[in-house]
Each structure stands twice: as C-alpha cells, then as structure tokens.
Symmetry: C2
Subunit: 457 residues, 2 copies
C-alpha cells in the first residue's frame, strides 16, 4: 500500500472491534511465578483470593493457559462509547524531526477518565456487578485509576469507595471533583474510617499518606464490608489481560494497512499499558511468527526494571497483599516526592518481569526534564497534551526516530500514548519555571528497598 494512503488517524469500525482479550501468558514458555500467601508463603488458592477480589477476576488472574477470553457484551457496549481509540500516524512529528522513521501512536486519552485505565476499570466493575456486589474499594495516587473506576461504577450503578493519598487529595482537588461527579466517595488516606488508618494516624500524626497506606485501607474497607471487593488498576495479570484491547486494536488497524512495526514502545509503571499494548505482538514473537523490538520506558527516579532485582516481594507497603515475583526496588523504596507523573510503583507486573528476564523485552530509564521537553515538543506539533507518564514513551520514540535520522533507516515505530495531562499542569508549570529536578536514586537509596525484601526459599 502506498505511503500516501495511510490516514492521519486510523479508526476501526465497531464491527472490527476485538471480541476477546488476549492472554499472553498462554503463549509464554516460562510462566509468571504464582502469587504467594504472605502468611504461609504458599501459592494463593482461588478461595483465598476470592475474599479480596471478585470471583471471575480471580479466575482470570490465575488462568495462564487460555489464549483468548471473550469480552462480555456489556463491556463491549461500554467500550463502544470511547473505543476504538485512534491509531495516529505522527506525520507532524516526523516532519518536525525530519526523520525517515514512520511513527504511530495508539492514543488512549479520548475518554473522560483521560487514560487507558478505563479499559480495565469497566471490566472489573462489570464482574463485581455480575457477582451481585454492592460496591468496590480501591486506592488512587495521582487519580487516573480512581477516576476511571468511578466512571465505570457510575455506569453499572455500583458504590465506589476511593482512598486517595492525602497529599494528592489536597494538591489535586480537581481529580477529586471528577470522581465525585461520577458519584464516588473519596476519602483522604490515612483516615479514621479504617483500623489501619487510625493506627497509622496515631503513630504518625500529620502524615500526608502513601499509596501503600491507601491500599491497606482500601483492602480493609473491602474485606470488612458485606458485598464489597477490592480492585486494582495495574500490576495484576488480569489488568494486562483487559488492557490487551490496546494492542489488539493496534494490530488490527496496522494489519489493515499492511503496516508492521519494528519497535514497540510503552511507558512502564506497574505495566498495565505496556503489557496491554505489546501483548498480541509479543504473542506472535513467542509463537515464532515474527520478530519485534519491545522497549519499556521507566522514570530514572523509579527504575524497577533497569535497576531492580527479580525476586518475590510485597505488593503493598502494608504487606497484606499476596507476594509476587517481579522486578522490584523493594516495597520500602520511596520514590522522590518531586517526581511528577505516575509510574511510581516499586515493582512491575509479573508477566512483564518474566518476559524481561527472558530477554524478550528491553528497558531503559529516562530523566524527568527530558521527558517534559519531549512532551512539549510533541504537544506543539501533534496537538495533544500528553500526561507525564505517557511522555516517557514519547521521549523514547523521539530518540529512536532520531537514530533513524542518523542511520537513514526507515523504521516503523509504534508507541502507546496512554493519556492526557489536563490534571498535571502543576508539573508542567514547574517545568516552565525551571523548577523541575531530576532525581536519580543512589545505591544507598536502593539498598533501603532491597534490604526490606522478604526472604522466600
């Protein structure tokens, strides 16, 4: 197909939307290690997991053999409200960079929650509703996940209790108001509404909270209430499964125009977006059908893949959740408070950790200032204001495109643009005012996290 016939934006028709999610674990020779019970260090059973998570989601979490899992019609109908998301040819960015590379991005920001998080939120809310639950609880830091979940719960008329890290609750009042618009109750964490919250407040009066503490409160709020379960927006294998919709749509759109990416790039925090984007392409590679380069891009301030260890670790600071084998900086690792975007999680999805350990994926870390430079450059030519998280992928995509300019290679680059930065303007302001710092943890900083790793085997 001739170059000129590829439109700026490729939208699929509704009847071209995937009807199943793709479970990359089914094609992995080395499966992710099982979740362990934090008390017994034995693999978690479905029954144990079902006290915290919805029944069908537990099945999805444990299923590493079924390649395709049908997307229920109710979820497909919701997807139709904002999907397919556009696959965009970045003609303007290519022109600006004067690169022979062909750059595409899958844009997930065109829904009110502003990010890809909605893809899994609606699935998790659906299964909670189907199970006859009254509601779900969760934690949120920056607020993207909480926003997505609030929206999903409003749609299925489920109660939604969000524990929001207190400092974010105070600094990001607009995120809070979006969640309230969707009918969620938002509690600053730590709070007096849970035992663990009270204990932490007693021990640390005046604390501004942490994600670990908010997780603990959300889990307690779910497990001590009749008809509630806890839900999570990243890291879990079920989340990667739901997010595979990103990669599946990308692949259908590219196949339609005969486009084959050479390099696929995604930002990586807990791995929800990256895992979703690369899954179907990785599947092809795992089945020996085609080769790709996959690049995970993480912040230099929270470098779980590039500087972490592959080990069993706690998923939360409160150590109430199952242990997971993953690339991790240790649950005690504290990312810099000056770090702007999300991508602050100490660990990485078990699926991506295993793929990385098997040498099937590359990883690199980038600094905060260069990320915002890339974001601004992108915004000015492509007309989308990217979230700081997404901009990690933009930075790497620009770097790869500039390498092509040096070598003259016409590589095709695909990256995931996970969301918009409308609620991140404080960070942009710091960038404009040159008040942004580029924190890189020292070896001593990392040792704190590594020293806290659990002893397993």
């Amino acid at each position: 197909m001739s170059e000129k016939t590829i439109p700026y934006k490729i939208y699929l028709e509704e009847n071209e939307l995937p009807t199943s999610w793709y479970n990359v674990r089914a094609d992995m020779k080395n499966k992710p290690a099982p979740l362990l019970n934090p008390a017994t260090l034995k693999p978690m059973t479905a029954e144990e997991l079902e006290t915290v998570f919805c029944k069908e989601l537990v099945q999805q979490e444990l299923d590493d053999t079924t390649p395709y899992i049908e997307i229920p019609e109710e979820i497909r109908n919701f997807y139709k409200m904002y999907r397919p998301s556009p696959l965009v040819r970045a003609y303007c960015l290519e022109e600006k960079l004067q690169t022979p590379a062909k750059i595409y991005y899958k844009f997930e920001g065109n829904n009110t929650s502003g990010s890809h998080k909605l893809n899994s939120a609606i699935a998790q809310a659906y299964y909670a509703k189907k199970q006859g639950l009254k509601g779900v609880t969760t934690e949120t830091g920056a607020g993207q996940w909480g926003t997505a979940l609030s929206m999903a719960c409003a749609y299925f008329d489920l109660d939604c209790k969000v524990y929001m890290v207190k400092v974010s609750y105070e600094q990001k009042p607009f995120r809070r108001e979006v969640m309230r618009t969707y009918g969620a109750s938002v509690t600053p964490s730590p709070s007096e509404t849970t035992e663990v919250g009270k204990r932490i407040l007693a021990e640390h009066p005046g604390t501004t909270g942490s994600l670990g503490c908010a997780i603990s409160e959300a889990v307690e709020a779910a497990t001590t209430r009749e008809g509630y379960r806890y839900v999570l927006g990243s890291v879990l294998s079920q989340v990667l499964l739901h997010q595979s919709i990103i990669g599946l749509e990308s692949k259908i759109a590219m196949d339609k125009y005969g486009i084959v990416p050479d390099i696929i790039i995604g930002c990586a925090g807990g791995g929800s977006n990256l895992g979703g984007l690369i899954s179907p392409f990785m599947g092809e590679m795992l089945r020996g059908e085609r080769d790709y380069r996959f690049i995970a891009v993480e912040p230099a301030s929270c470098p779980s893949l590039t500087r972490g260890v592959y080990a069993y670790d706690y998923c939360d600071t409160g150590k109430v959740c199952p242990l997971q084998k993953m690339y991790t900086l240790g649950s005690g690792f504290i990312p810099s408070p000056n770090h702007a975007g999300g991508l602050r999680y100490h660990g990485m999805s078990a699926v991506l950790s295993q793929l990385y350990d098997d040498g099937l994926m590359e990883a690199r870390s980038v600094g905060q200032t260069e990320v915002f430079e890339a974001a601004e450059q992108f915004a000015r030519v492509e007309g989308i204001l990217p979230a700081p998280e997404s901009s990690h992928a933009i930075k790497a995509a620009i770097d790869e495109a500039m390498k092509c300019k040096e070598t003259g290679e016409e590589k095709t680059i695909l990256f995931g643009l996970t969301g918009t930065g409308y609620f991140d303007m404080l960070a942009y302001e710091r960038f404009h005012n040159q008040e942004m710092t580029d924190y890189v943890p020292t070896e001593a900083d990392l040792k704190v996290g590594f020293d806290g790793l659990p002893k397993v085997e």
Copy 2:
C-alpha cells in the same frame, strides 16, 4: 436503514471531510447589518478593518454572497489531526431517560484545546502566517479560546500574545500553563504593557480586570506592533464560517445513515458553536428544502437573545471595535461573577441575531444549577465530562427528550457538545458542595446595559 445498524459513534473517513466551509449569509434573504465605524458610524471598509484584522479574514467577514469558501489545504491537514469529530448516538442517555427520542451529539472536545474553538483558531493563524505576519494578539477569559489559539500558533510558528483577564489568570493557573506549553506569552490584564492597561490600572488600582479591558489591550498590542494583527474567537461572521465545519460534518454523517434531525440545539454565548452547527441545516431551510427547529440555549444570567434588544452596540467595553447590530444586553452589562461557564458575552453574532429576529430560530435560557445537574447526569451515562457551556445544550436536549417521553414522539434531536470540563472543576466543586447560585438579572440590572447603548440613527 434499521435502527440497530447505527453505531455509537459515526466517524467519517478522511476523504469524506468537507473541503469548503459554508457561508450561511449567502442564503439569507435579510443579510446581517454592516459593521459600523465607531467614530463615523459609517459602514467599515475593508481597508479600515485590515488595520486590525488579517486581510483574507476581512474578506471573509464582509462576504455575504459566496456560499462555499474553500478550506486551504494547510488547514485541512491540521483538521485531520483531530477531525472528523465523532457524531455520537447517545444510546446510554436515551436508555437512562427512557425516552423514545433519538439523541445525537457532535462532540468537539477531542482535541487538546478541549473545545470547538480550535476550528477557527487554526484558520485565523493560517491566514496570519500567509500574510507574513510575525504574530497575533487576543484576549481570553476562561481560557478556551486562548488555549486553542496558542496551539494553532505553535503549529504555524507564529508568536501569540494572550491577554488573560487577571482574575482568571490567577484562578485558572492550569489554563495559563497549557498556553505556555504551546509557547504563548500570557499577560494578566490589565497590565503595564499597554497604554490602555496603564490608564485603567491608574484609575482602578487593584482591579481584577474584565474581558472588555483585555480586548482593548489586545487590540492596542496588535495595532501598535509591526507585523501583528488582532484575532477573536467568537461573534464575528468569519468565525461562524470556520465553525460551519461542525455542521457540515454532522450533516454528512447523518445523511450517510439516513438520519434527519427534527430539533438542533446549541449553547449560545457569542454564537460560534451554535452558528457553526446549524449553518448547513439552516441553509436547507432558507432554500426551502427542509424544515428544522433550531434552539439557542443561553444562561439565565446573561440572556442576550431572550431578554436583550436588537440594536447596534459596541462589541467591546473599551468601545474601540466596530459597532455591530445584534441582540445585546449592552456593552455595560455585567454578568454575575458567580456564573461558572463562558457564555458571558453581552451580545450575539450578527448572523444569529438576524436569523432569530426573522423567526427562524428559537431561544431559551436555563439556570446554572439545572445545567450542572444535566451535566452530571450526562457524564455518568455517556462518559464525557462536559464543559459548563456545553451543558446548556445538554439541559435543553434532555428537556426535549423528556417531552417526547410524555407525548410518545420519536423525535430525533441533535445537539452540539462543544467541549470538556477538565478546567472547570472548581465550578463542579461548588455544585457538589451546593454553593452554586442561580443569578437572574433584574429589570434594573438590564437597564444599566440598555442605557449605555449607542445612539445610531
């Protein structure tokens, strides 16, 4: 075509995008009255207008006979980055309302500027660039227009000077940062950078500014600088021309599926969105081809159509701009400071004013609280967080759909959803906290504005 085959979202292909704007004035029997020179009260000549506005835009402003004006390729290429915008069938809202009405909305919020304003901003920036100008100046209140213009200027590498009403500059720092991200300089108005700004600051120390003052500063900044012109985001006929892309795309999409709207609804401030949305449909009616009902929805706090007079008036508080015959509350009218959204302009587009005066369009006003109730109801089922401005149209659309529920009529309703409310969360917060007030001007309030109308003939 059977009901079921209409998708949630109708996207046109790139080759279906309109290649010309539609100039509804060409089909109007009663043309809008000419702009008058404020000094001589004689019709403004092109030469006079060209000292303030770009040459080609002056031609478009004065042209009331050419029905179709070609969209230059450069603008079409930019449009392709975010257009066609989706025409959405509000299946979920219909279901929620249990109405037999079929509701469609044309959603203009899927671009970084977050609103339809970009459609005209890119056109105005293009003509400025083509004329070889260095830059443009403008004013912005809430910031939607300033954001759109900044983005357009970044694309064409034009300098962009935005005078932002000081109170908004301070209360909406995030809007300011978006503009800075696109490279615009944003000056709180009144400022020391202009003579008029200095004079106002001397007369009213500590003033927080007004749109009228910001216009005066922007016009002075343009006319006293080599290579600059002033641009405006609403009210002008050229703006309605550019915004006709909204209606043209809607019509192509509806024709494709055999959908004929009975009622077309838009929010109305200066008229840019409403005029753009209804233009091609109004053209059909003016040519006697088909009948529609058109409804302009304005805030009860700034009711230029429903409670204003049809008269020549000043377009700005500083009285430096041409006089325009329009429905107006008088340039001295002060809308309530508690009014949340835009739609605060004292007058209305000359085109829409004439159509309204000819009985071709209806108008109604709605209260602020009921608008936010409609906004929240819409957000929860349709998954889009609407701007307060856009929500005026949502309110009227829901009202019409509920009438259909009473009568059992299966009317087809089309409304314009102009943008997203990401930067309006302070207003949503007031709504959630029940701190929102419903200001309606008294007859005495209106008299202040009417008494200041210029004496023309």
